[in-house]
Symmetry: C2
Subunit: 342 residues, 2 copies
């Protein structure tokens, strides 16, 4: 009600300040950008005017001249999986070092949403994009091509992709995990994975598994990528008549969920069944039992992507693809198959 009696005077601009200080707009601009070249008392006069008029330079007007908006966009499937949060954290940190801000958009793994949000990011002036995975909609590619937007693909590696990829080899990572279980003597392995639809990373991991030839069998279970999803899968596995020697989850969150699910049913890990994840979340090291997994270098991936994108934008250097190595992390949730050893 007594909500400020002042006139709703609009924001003041450079010209207002120049007039108030009795100088030219050029001088005000200099005060803002190279105060060193302005005589001391002129400087003070102008700064006084700036303060009095509460002048705040318009970012848009600056951007129109410099052609730089100083921010990039990241399109990620979801923030609800800690793995993307970790990636974003590293990305934001490094971009910030280069004076770039990060606009985050989530796509829910839907290529249409991705295309729409990418359009939105371009519309508000993003100077570059970070995206996830291999498959995207035609509209998306059309947009990237038309705008010549510097765009880096993460979370998977492919030398031959026309866009630079910075990521790991999902097939190889999954194989690494499976090989470990095979070496431990496991022969009947349950594989728990997230939705295949629209998720090329999951697809690649699965095809990695199937490409391995060995004497044993895989049974696959699809579930939601969440703790709850893992717990559900555990219930399904348990209710099955034939019990696996080992369970391989293609995400750590799911593995943790399976761990909880089995624990609540009184199944001991790794005594009754070996359990393995893939990602290496911080939780996995602390869980009881600690989770054997394959480490995906997502923080490093974030850093590398940030550096590459910043260079691409500021120096027009198109980045080289970068393959980051996944690494087996042996912890306590997997042991040698006892039956086989007898």
């Amino acid at each position: 009600m007594t909500q400020k009696a002042q006139a709703p005077k609009k924001r003041s601009n450079l010209r207002d300040v120049a007039k108030a200080a009795g100088v030219s707009v050029a001088t005000v601009s200099r005060v803002l950008n190279e105060p060193g070249v302005v005589k001391k008392d002129t400087l003070e006069k102008v700064q006084k005017a700036i303060a009095e008029l509460r002048f705040v330079p318009s970012a848009a007007a600056r951007a129109i001249n410099s052609g730089r908006t100083r921010f990039v966009g990241a399109l990620i499937p979801t923030l609800d999986n800690a793995i993307f949060a970790r990636f974003l954290a590293a990305l934001e940190r490094k971009l910030s070092d280069d004076g770039l801000s990060l606009v985050v958009a989530t796509t829910d793994s839907d290529p249409d949403i991705e295309a729409a949000k990418a359009k939105g990011l371009v519309d508000i002036g993003a100077e570059g994009l970070i995206i996830t995975g291999a498959s995207h909609s035609p509209e998306f590619y059309e947009l990237i091509e038309r705008t010549m937007m510097p765009t880096i693909i993460t979370s998977y590696f492919d030398n031959s992709n026309p866009l630079p990829t910075i990521g790991y080899d999902n097939e190889a990572a999954a194989k690494l995990a499976l090989r470990h279980l095979i070496e431990l003597g496991h022969r009947r392995i349950a594989v728990v994975h997230g939705p295949i639809h629209n998720n090329d990373r999951t697809q690649a991991r699965l095809s990695g598994l199937h490409s391995l030839s060995w004497e044993g069998e895989l049974t696959t279970f699809e579930t939601e990528i969440s703790l709850r999803g893992g717990a559900d899968a555990a219930a399904r596995i348990e209710s099955n008549s034939s019990k696996p020697d080992a369970i391989l989850c293609l995400s750590d969150v799911v593995a943790l969920g399976v761990l909880f699910g089995l624990q609540s049913k009184g199944v001991s890990i790794p005594e009754d069944v070996s359990l393995m994840g893939l990602d290496d979340l911080p939780s996995s090291a602390v869980a009881v039992p600690s989770l054997t997994t394959v480490h995906l270098p997502v923080s490093r991936m974030g850093e590398r992507a940030a550096i590459a994108l910043a260079r691409w934008i500021s120096a027009q250097e198109r980045p080289q693809p970068e393959r980051l190595e996944a690494k087996l992390i042996e912890r306590s949730s997997t042991i040698r198959n006892a039956v086989l050893n007898e």
Copy 2:
């Protein structure tokens, strides 16, 4: 090397398109913004020119006219704690509905970093800010005041704060938790909390605990807010000569860490000691035993903050503070104190 032989021709602009299509700039602008009013063959002519010249309108030039950049900034302590990731996810989702993008900046709970990043967000043209908690640096407040930036504080509620707050009452939430433990008959309670330095939410929760008068004692343990931090605290609590009846962790991540830490030492929960968290992460419901906690409505907080900020920006309606209720969630990690009952 054979990197495109084409001339490095700069981006084409409205004038170029107008010239190529043989029309005025106004017509091109109309084609972009109200295609309906342009005659069909003119429209096609212009669209052809746009396509040929690969014309992409400059976001900055648009922004300079509309005065709108269509994005807001969020300053959060960290992305490594799932609670903020959840908050951000909700925030981004709702902002996106209003055509606003979200720029994320992390502060590491450092007021100076926060002030610097806030400055950066304003510099790139953010139309509003979402910040976390009560305490901020003088430079930060000076910036908000000078730029009259619409700014909403989240993660805590305070009617009397000059900036609108949308959040919960941290003192009350902590009291809710403690009261539950007291009602269960626990008298010696270990409290595990995150760093107090620069963290007003933790401070408020602690002061809530200390404001309760009851016949029993609190022992506090400070640790890092992470699973590892919780596990460490568990070790410290265990090595203490006097064992608590219950452990109250002021964050769920920490509680989960404590859970794992105790499990690995063979301590049974809740039989040997009751354990309680505060936050209500998805993990807490799935953990074994499932974690009694106090639910903080962070998703709802994100939505409400998004709606309020969008309205503030587009309709100059300064939001009313909103208090969101924390709620006790009883699960299996707490039971009645057996000793007391004998």
